[in-house]
Symmetry: C2
């Protein structure tokens, strides 16, 4: 999950002085500084690049801006011909500041701190490109896919190709692991999920592997429940990020046997702190930490989370030892 | 799922003339007329009472109103003592118009049309009572449960008791089946899900069974993924409503072996219509319809759904026959 954010006063201070959110993402010194902020405070084992999944549609020529309190606003794609108008040629040059930030980070970070790059998965990015903003039911994007799967597939294919290139460039600039966020995977029936989320994840994994065979990928198909096992078996990702709802013992027995798992503390348990945070954290560690595992939240940290709860969490995870 | 709604012109017309939404729910002639509208058009096998899950907090003395475009607005509970201020005494009298509507409906409906009553499950209702409105992350309600499980349990217990009474009164007035909607069940880690959703569903089932042993109950723990199997095994409900994301073959093998299943067409496939609607519907029927099954949507119908798609769906489901 994003490590920087409004729960950190130094982040709020920097963002108050900076321009709009997208410019912040695309200004290397800003992206570097924000990426380093939580590492300075907590010395996490890994740093995740400060960026946004919507830098890709921006680089493809779609109008993207962020409104305080509302979230992203895009000039929505409304018909198949809008897909053909996307500016694929040269899009990677428009993302050069991201790769520059990765290069500087790899130089600035302690050697033992893994640098993680990331991108949005095709379905999640496509949903923003078609809805034009956050959505409750994704009616426009899903109805497009149901009504005209041919043009929707064209958009997904374009996103597979450009997302893979974007990840490869991050890896070549120094990212040592890559995460693919499919935040809205959990809205599809199984067949559509396989077509619009699982197959694209696998296609991206294969393209990135061909270019950078040694860089592992973590997929985060949030909310796919039972299908986590299928993702573990067939996405090709070396790691899977579990959302908060995934039962731990099941994940240990059905997912962790196939891939490294990451997760999955409820961000609201971290917000609440105290006994609930301690119990939920202990349950996760005791069930998953003895096998290949990355401790993380199950979703993004909330802005109102007390910093002291994060420090308590880090101390708790660091102190954990496998039962003798 | 709710059968009436803004996709029907006769509903829009009636609502335009009527007062606020809650008054419409609590005026028997209105509730009866709106319940009958979709039955007149489509002659569904069952009619679901037109009402709302928030009539309960209203009857408990909490301020509840509905704003067009925003949804429900409640005067949020903010501290444990607010729970003790709820007006449990006499709450059932304030719901008398609901039971009057049920009585009239049982008289007006064709004998072969099953009448389904319903209520919100304790967690989902509690989430509105604490958040005061629809929420993206349920941070206030979940943080309350994590920080102060004792008072949160008191609220849930109060809702178990009053919800069971509300369902019993509907059954005694003539409802022949009861549905318990836990629309926001899918936001909890497993342990909390068992405590705040599964245990209350079972407690309600037991109370209702003691009073009305012959009235079956359908639970809808939306978004609980794998835990659907646990609900089938231990909630005591005779039926489970599957959300759109539940894989069909898994549901057939792990859930339908234990209870009747209901579901789960993606409302957006119904919005889209055409080939996608046909394919998704056929997949559901072919996988589930040979065993105890109620065809339904996986979530509520969208207001912009063309009526002709609903008619096509009804015809499709009616024409289905088990392979010889």
């Amino acid at each position: 999950m994003r490590q920087a954010g409004r729960y950190l006063p130094e982040y709020r201070e920097l963002r108050a002085q900076a321009g709009d959110f997208l410019t912040t993402c695309l200004t290397p010194e800003m992206a570097v500084e924000i990426t380093l902020q939580p590492i300075r405070r907590f010395a996490f084992d890994a740093a995740i690049l400060f960026s946004d999944i919507l830098v890709l549609p921006h680089a493809l020529g779609q109008s993207v801006r962020f409104e305080e309190g509302t979230g992203p606003i895009l000039k929505a794609l409304t018909r198949a011909s809008d897909i053909d108008d996307l500016a694929v040629r040269g899009f990677i040059d428009r993302l050069a500041p991201v790769y520059e930030a990765v290069r500087r980070l790899r130089a600035d970070l302690p050697a033992q701190t893994t640098l993680i790059g990331f991108a949005g998965a095709p379905w999640t990015v496509a949903s923003y490109m078609i809805e034009g903003r956050s959505s409750k039911d994704f009616a426009k994007a899903k109805a497009w896919a149901y009504r005209d799967p041919v043009s929707f597939q064209r958009l997904i294919d374009l996103l597979i190709e450009t997302t893979a290139d974007h990840l490869i460039c991050q890896a070549e600039a120094g990212a040592e692991a890559l995460q693919l966020f499919d935040s809205w995977a959990g809205v599809w029936p199984e067949g559509a999920l396989r077509r619009w989320c699982l197959d694209p994840a696998r296609a991206i994994r294969e393209r990135v592997r061909a270019a950078c065979p040694d860089v592992p990928m973590i997929a985060f198909p949030r909310g796919v429940g039972l299908l986590y096992e299928t993702f573990a078996e067939t996405s090709g990702a070396e790691g899977l990020s579990l959302d908060t709802t995934v039962p731990l013992v099941w994940a240990r027995d059905h997912v962790q046997t196939k891939v490294t798992v990451q997760g999955n503390l409820d961000p609201i348990a971290l917000l609440a702190g105290g006994e609930a945070q301690r119990e939920e954290t202990a349950r996760i560690l005791d069930t998953l930490a003895a096998k290949p595992f990355i401790f993380n939240l199950g979703h993004g940290i909330l802005p109102e989370t007390p910093i002291v709860h994060v420090q308590t969490l880090v101390d708790h995870v660091r102190a954990w030892r496998a039962p003798a």
